[in-house]
Amino acid sequence: MTVRLQTEPLDPEVEVRTFRGRLDESGALVTFTGLMRGQDGIREISRMTLEHYPGMTEASLMAIEKEALERWPLDDCLIIHRIGEIMPGEPILLVAIAARHRQQAFKAAEFLIDWLKTKAPFWKYEEDSDGGRWVGARSQDDKLAKRWD
């Protein structure tokens, strides 16, 4: 059970290898990597900056992880989130879930990400050649999070 925020680049494969090495009797390992997209369909995004609420962000990720562990029989669980400056193509978020069977692992992974996106205090600032803007919340994310109420 690990929650980590880091300004350094995130290497998902190194993290997953370590995570997998600690597993014992898990039959299923699901991972999700959120990658920074260099365009949003309209603009070319040159850089993103992730702001967070020191203290509350970590506590909120731990609470989300705890909730997942109460809802599903998981063997282990990892959340790593970048903060600070992020360049296109770089991983922003890694979630890894190990369980006996795949169903629980998939459900828990989707749950963690849905709650993280709507309940953990992070804010994205995007920059392109015209300047910068704060990314607005997606109503789709609120809809997805409601699945778990």
Binding site: H52, A59, I92, P121, W123, Y125, G136
Partner: protein
């Protein structure tokens, strides 16, 4: 009261954190917002549309009616966009 601002709320107000004495007649989050609105143009701008703002008292998400006291940490920020 320890006040924290994030993202565009922080940018409007011009600082990420400040310490202010809570007025005696202010007892909940809605009251804090009404009070801060009169602290200057940046505050007025940040709190213009309360529907666009989320708030936490001592790092817990709360509603506008949540009680506050001078020793609390109160944070204001836009809807979250991590992940």
């Amino acid at each position: 009261m320890q006040l924290l601002y994030f993202a565009w709320v922080r940018q409007s107000i011009g600082t990420g954190s400040e310490q202010k004495k809570l007025p005696e007649n202010v007892t909940n989050v809605a009251g804090v917002i009404d009070w801060l609105r009169h602290e200057g143009e940046g505050y007025a701008e940040a709190f213009r549309d309360v529907d666009q703002i989320k708030f936490a008292v001592n790092q817990i998400f709360v509603s506008l009616e949540a009680p506050v006291k001078d020793s609390d940490e109160v944070a204001f920020f836009p809807p979250v966009t991590g992940g």
